[in-house]
Symmetry: C2
Subunit: 281 residues, 2 copies
């Protein structure tokens, strides 16, 4: 199944090349996980999309149309992934944008992501990427369309790792190329602060809530490579793949335990069964 | 006149939304100045485009087709601007790219840029932007499509300044939002090093060559705001607008002299008259 696209509510594979999302990466996106015809955590995705629009001063107004489209597509797709892009809209040459130009929304449907089931059960090997993320607080946390750092980092390996970890230019641990990072230390959950760079993942926020409900302390911290030495468990996560326990990082760090990680996987699975919580919030 | 687009050599306003230049800003671009039907400094633009393709591992092969298109368009346009985008091509979901997928080239024609003639004669006022550029050596120098920093910086003012100056997160002077920066100090020309961020402009490289031919010493330096205090002249430049002397920076620095800057403007104008040099190199 190849992707099909809806541009501003119309089925179309014809985008105006003057779109600023193409010209400058001037926009934001979300990647939605669809299971049994429902979109997981749609409310949280829309919260982040709104935050991204505010940060970039994108005046996107078609929330009802977008939401209806996503629900209709999810029901047709049943299982898979929906990607939503909100771009600044078509514009002339030059970085300056017109304050009131209408945004462009592009929605596409994709087949389910194909990953070995062992990634979630047995765990994965991670690469430590050579590339360092630049520090840019003005863009940190939101899911904007300037993703060359992730493209370059992902090109550092073929299939020998399941994911690559990224540090920033100050050697702070930040995230995976497509996932967020958690460390378990002495029963506590630690995840990197994302004030300087990185994407604040939806499943990251869900897991922080679940862990706290279970009485597990969670801290957003400054983390560096030596923090892996004092960690009992490490995992990465995103909305589409769920939680992957980490067995090994680049031959340098190994983690035998998965106890806390498995508890979270099970708690997450229980939420999936009670759709009202998982899908609507 | 609105823009018209050629996608892979075909007149079209219909871009495949799966294009990675849209999805991730995965590509590079050039902005070409066209006068009397000829493209200025095309050879240098292609050099930078090639360098960008190499840096991003974009395997663009259609140089002959692209060059023929640009010459044909330039001749039709007579005076104006041609923008060229080379994108990674249509791809599936995910940051990983197929090694041998064909790139997409998008060429568009635009009317001449409209700037007051006084910008070049009397000089301009610059803003000091609040936004700081992130440091990313992997992307520094090339003209890639991740331009949200420039979009955000340009949104800091309306028309009260001609251009905005950008510092990086270490308070180093880098460039304007759409131009490069030069400082004249004691007869010497200084321009910021672009190892960490910034775009290595075509006119910047031309002016470095012209100045050296005239016996003026040019240095790529680490520059900071206090360097404006010891400067006699400041100017910004790009391929489309040429050279703009700077009269004032954000009410903090003023420059009465334009002697060296005017010499360079005149040398540049003389090159324009001898088209063989200016347009072909």
């Amino acid at each position: 199944m190849s992707a099909s696209h809806w541009i501003n509510g119309v089925s179309s594979n014809e985008l105006d090349p003057a779109e600023r999302a193409l010209q400058y990466g001037d926009g934001v996106f979300e990647t939605l996980c669809v299971r049994h015809g429902s979109v997981a955590y749609l409310h949280r995705h829309w919260q982040r999309l709104r935050a991204g629009c505010e940060r970039l001063q994108l005046h996107f107004a078609e929330w009802d149309g977008l939401t209806a489209e996503v629900h209709r597509l999810a029901s047709e797709l049943d299982d898979g992934v929906i990607k939503v892009i909100v771009g600044r809209g078509a514009g002339g040459r030059g970085y300056r944008y017109a304050a009131n130009a209408p945004c462009t929304r592009i929605v596409s449907a994709h087949p389910p992501a194909q990953w070995p089931a062992e990634h979630a059960s047995v765990g994965v090997r991670l690469r430590l990427c050579r590339l360092r993320l630049g520090v840019q607080p003005a863009l940190a946390g939101i899911k904007h369309l300037n993703r060359l750092e992730q493209v370059l980092a992902r090109a550092e390996w073929e299939n020998e790792y399941a994911e690559g970890l990224l540090l920033d230019c100050h050697e702070q641990l930040i995230e995976g190329t497509m996932s967020n990072l958690f460390i378990v230390r002495d029963g506590q959950l630690l995840t990197p602060r994302l004030d300087d760079c990185g994407v604040a993942g939806i499943l990251r926020s869900v897991l922080i809530d679940i862990a706290r409900e279970q009485g597990v302390e969670v801290r957003r911290s400054r983390l560096e490579l030596p923090d892996f030495e004092s960690a009992q468990e490490v995992f990465v996560c995103n909305s589409v793949v769920g939680i992957w326990p980490v067995r090994e990082i680049d031959g340098r760090y190994r983690f035998a335990s998965r106890k806390v990680t498995q508890n979270l996987q099970q708690a997450l699975a229980r939420r999936q069964e009670t759709e009202g919580i998982w899908y609507e919030e």
